[in-house]
């Protein structure tokens, strides 16, 4: 996809050019923003160490395969690759956990394979639903949530199903 690679370059150039025209210290602000992100990265590393170890142990024990086998009737019906089932389970619960499962999938399957692509689209098109709901409503002291969870999970489930459909549609796999 040459168009996308060009688009990324154009976005970077445009951001810097507009910044310069508007009198922004583009280098100073860039390093400031990069430093903020580095701090975030370091702060999530301990969670990533814990969860990647767990995910590695689970997949070495054969439990992930057992879960995939258990859900096989549903996933086969949807044409959903069983290798991506642990990712779909982890995705709404924990961001670092989902990253750990995604890393595991990419080390066992090529990122350009059907499974690698479905996993990429799945993690890219859904969010950490339970966490987001808990943080937002906890902070804003909302007690009566009505259809929030049902509607969020409807969106997630649609994302899971469409990650397979979109990969088939775009790549013809």
């Amino acid at each position: 996809m040459k168009v996308i690679e060009l688009a990324v370059l154009l976005i970077i150039t445009a951001i810097l050019a507009v910044g310069l025209i508007k009198g922004v210290d583009v280098f100073g602000q860039f390093t400031e923003g990069a430093y903020e992100t580095l701090k975030t990265g370091v702060s999530i590393l301990p969670a990533l160490i814990a969860l990647m170890t767990c995910v590695g142990m689970i997949s070495a024990s054969g439990a992930a395969d057992a879960l995939a086998e258990l859900l096989a009737p549903v996933t086969e019906f949807l044409g959903f690759p069983s290798e991506c089932v642990p990712l779909a389970v982890m995705r709404p619960i924990s961001g670092s956990g989902a990253t750990a499962v995604y890393e595991e999938i990419l080390s066992e399957n090529s990122p350009d394979s059907f499974i690698g692509r479905v996993a990429s689209v799945l993690i890219g098109s859904t969010e950490t639903t339970f966490y987001t709901i808990a943080v937002y409503f906890g902070a804003a002291k909302i007690k009566k949530t009505r259809n929030t969870l049902v509607s969020s999970l409807t969106a997630d489930f649609t994302g899971f199903v469409f990650s397979v459909l979109a990969v088939r549609l775009v790549f013809g796999q």
């Binding site: 996308i4 690679e5 990324v8 970077i12 810097l16 507009v18 910044g19 860039f30 923003g33 990069a34 430093y35 992100t37 975030t40 990265g41 990533l48 160490i49 969860l51 170890t53 767990c54 995910v55 590695g56 142990m57 689970i58 070495a60 024990s61 054969g62 990253t99 890393e103 990122p111 350009d112 692509r117 689209v121 890219g124 098109s125 639903t129 339970f130 709901i133 943080v135 409503f137 906890g138 804003a140 909302i142 007690k143 949530t145 009505r146 259809n147 929030t148 049902v150 509607s151 969020s152 409807t154 969106a155 489930f157 649609t158 469409f162 459909l165 979109a166 990969v167 549609l169 775009v170």
Partner: protein, 226 residues
């Protein structure tokens, strides 16, 4: 209400900080791998994983931190150059359609547009405090008093669906694993995101419309009985 019970269970686990639930997930996952490892005779593989996977987490972070920091830097420049405000202005019209009955010049709507824009640009760190502020402002403007109004539900559902335009972390991880074209999944991600967001919006609007019809028919019944 089973949905409410599940939500209560989740909030008790997460305890508003997002960390409480993890202690159970951590322990249960290790426990499951011990039980399955024993049952399937994979004990040596499981203990090897316990000792070696942690260094892979550090390696992964080393591969990710460069691209993540690069985009963090670019997005800060974009923010300071007024690009975020510009995009927020572009999204005012579609957001007015999604959020009914609130003041388009008020604090709540401004917080909503800034939160959605931060999500679109992949500014996760900025999006969460803006989102919490938006929920608080909406709650105040609609005097919700602890009840999630249709607008609050809409905002949270938009935040639990991914609407990031450039999937930088996914691209960085695909590149680290030798993808020949790490960004070639972008159109598929956009299709899947759009479908997921559309389903979320449709669900929120259906529930809102359903409640409207219910309350109207209730009103008609009481009117007739008088």
């Amino acid at each position: 209400m089973s949905g409410f019970l599940i939500y209560r269970a989740i909030t008790i686990f997460y305890n508003g900080q997002g960390l409480e639930m993890m202690k159970y997930i951590f322990t249960v996952m290790v426990g499951i791998s011990l039980v399955f490892g024993l049952a399937a005779g994979n004990i040596s593989e499981v203990s090897n994983a316990a000792l070696s996977e942690c260094s892979q987490a550090v390696e992964l972070m080393l591969k990710l931190i460069g691209p993540m920091a690069f985009w963090g830097g670019m997005m800060r420049v974009a923010d300071k150059a007024g690009i975020t405000d510009f995009i927020a202005k572009l999204f005012r019209a579609p957001l007015k359609f999604l959020f009914k009955g609130i003041d388009a010049n008020g604090k709540a709507f401004k917080a909503v547009t800034m939160n959605i824009t931060a999500n679109l640009l992949g500014l996760g760190n900025a999006a969460t405090p803006l989102g919490i502020q938006a929920v608080k402002e909406l709650s105040e403007e609609e005097s919700a008093g602890g009840v999630a109004t249709d607008n609050i539900i809409m905002l949270v559902v938009l935040n639990t669906a991914s609407i990031q335009l450039i999937p930088t972390t996914v691209a960085a991880m695909r590149l680290a694993h030798g993808s020949s074209s790490p960004l070639d999944v972008m159109p598929a991600i956009l299709i899947s995101s759009a479908a997921s967001v559309a389903a979320g919006i449709a669900s929120v609007k259906c529930f809102a419309a359903g409640r409207n019809v219910l309350s109207r028919s209730k009103r008609t019944i009481t009117d007739e009985s008088h």
